[in-house]
Structure formats: structure tokens, C-alpha cells
Symmetry: C2
Subunit: 166 residues, 2 copies
């Protein structure tokens, strides 16, 4: 990874690190979109975001059928709004599962990392956008409002950055 990419990943990590739940949006077979909260586990140095999942879940099937998903992080108190587009894959990866393991995960997979349904979502980030007003709340809220109302990203004031990972 280049220093530019490293910097982009660190920047994205700083935005989302305090936001426990992401909303994962997937495409269904009938071309509708649905979302659900998921606990983020790790944004690694390769620009991959990890989640735990059961391979029996409806979401696992949706991802396998339609791997191009979107992940958002929202924290109104800090006016942080992040959109990440990329490719998701449901896989078994014992070494990674052990690395990410915590008591919170154990509550849902009582057999531990050897639970036969325990799987991971490996979400490879293609692009990430954020609307962040932390540095200058008034200006930034205004910038967000422009994006929010007109559908145009705020280009004149405030911090709006699109990170391209590939």
C-alpha cells in the first residue's frame, strides 16, 4: 500500500472508530434495497472492513448473491456521515476470527471460534465519502445541508473528501 492509501485509510479510520454500528445496505433479488445495523470489528491496513456473521443468516445469502454493498456510518452528535462502497464476501477465516474475537461475539456464537456457522464479512472498500463538520461545525453543517438538500456534494465549504482505494 502506498503512503497515500495508508493516509486515506487512517483518515477513514479516524472518522469511524468511535461509531460502533454501521448500517449495511444490500440489494435483494427483487431489486429492493434493505439495511441493518452491524457491529464493525476492524478496518485493517489493506482497506478491508470486517464483520462477524452467521452463514445461516438471510444477510449472508443476500451478500453472496449481490456482493456490491454499501456501508454507512452516522454520528449526528459529531456530524459525521460516511458512505463506503465496495465488495463483500462471506467466508470462514479461523485466524482472523481469533484475532477479532471478544466476549461480545461469544454471546452469539457460544461454541466459540469453532462454531460451525461463524463466518466473517470481508468488505473490500472501493470508495469512501464523508461529510464531516467536526473541524468547523457551523460551516460544515451548512455544507452538509447543501449536499443534503440539493443532492450536490459540498465542494465550496467544509470538508468533503472522496477516497478512492482502487
Amino acid at each position: 500500500m502506498s503512503e497515500v492509501i495508508d493516509s486515506s485509510i487512517n483518515n477513514l479510520r479516524s472518522k469511524i472508530k468511535a461509531i460502533r454500528f454501521a448500517m449495511l445496505t444490500t440489494l435483494n433479488d427483487d431489486q429492493t434495497l434493505s439495511s441493518r445495523p452491524m457491529t464493525q470489528q476492524q478496518l485493517d491496513d489493506n482497506g478491508t472492513l470486517w464483520f462477524f456473521i452467521s452463514d445461516e443468516s438471510h444477510l449472508a445469502r443476500d451478500i453472496t448473491s449481490h456482493p456490491k454493498i454499501n456501508v454507512t456510518f452516522a454520528e449526528p452528535a459529531d456530524s459525521i456521515y460516511v458512505s463506503i462502497s465496495g465488495n463483500a464476501e462471506v467466508l470462514k477465516h479461523l485466524e482472523k476470527a481469533k484475532e477479532l474475537w471478544s466476549p461480545a461475539v461469544a454471546a452469539w456464537f457460544p461454541e466459540g471460534v469453532d462454531d460451525p456457522h461463524l463466518s466473517l464479512i470481508k468488505f473490500t472498500i472501493h470508495s469512501a465519502e464523508y461529510w464531516d463538520s467536526h473541524s468547523n461545525k457551523m460551516l460544515q453543517l451548512f455544507a452538509i445541508a447543501k449536499a443534503a438538500i440539493s443532492g450536490h456534494p459540498p465542494t465550496d465549504i467544509g470538508e468533503h473528501e472522496k477516497l478512492q482505494f482502487n
Copy 2:
């Protein structure tokens, strides 16, 4: 509208009323998904959610090509996570624009409701789901964690309700 539907709309309204920005997720022509924050203007009594938009925006074109979109509301401080699926339409509706008009909107459409590009997103809700821990934070956070980690919606504890509007 039946009393059941009225009650569902009021319930949904109570969840999202304090959350100014929704994340709108759309499908692009290349089958990728993208999201952006948008200011909610009103959830009306018919189960329609309204936003302002410029008809020149990329988002307006995306919605016209792929009207089945998803809207999420997230408020970590109250552990509110809402997912709404439905059909969006970009339209001109002078009467509705006047009803929703505010100084915040005027900043982006300086010609007022007569701005030639001022349009509305009419988002007709088909289903709404929420994960709400306000009534019992500990239990509900646990319920969210189950949904979040396993991809299963929490059915045993906490409040998880799916509203069907049609």
C-alpha cells in the same frame, strides 16, 4: 388509512423526528450502491417521506433510473437504527414545496419555490424496520448486538418491529 397504519406511521415518526439527516442509498447503473446524507423534510400521514432535491443532481438521475431506494436513520446516542425501503420519485409539486419551505432551503434555492431546478423526492414507504433500545437500553443493545453480529433480526428480546405499509 387504517388505524393500524396511522399508528405505524406515528410510531415511525416518533423514532426519526429528532434525526435531521437520513442516509439515502441508491443503486447505480453499474450495480454498485452509494449513499449520501439528506435532510428529511416531512413524514406525512400517508407514509410518504419528503426531501428537497435539485433536478440537475446526480442523485435525481440515479433515482429516476432506479426508484427502489433505501433510507436509514441512525442516532447512536439513543441507539436508534431505522431502515426504510420504498419507491422514490423526483417531481415538481409547487404546493408541497411551499408547505415544506424554510429559510434553510432558501439558502440553496435562492430563487425560492420558483427556482426552475427545485424538485422534491417523494419517497413512498413500503416497509420500515427499527432497532430501538430507548425503552430498555441494556436489553436492547444486546438485541442490536445479536442482529448486528449474526445478521439475524432480534426476535427474542428488545423491540424490533417491521412496519408493512402495503
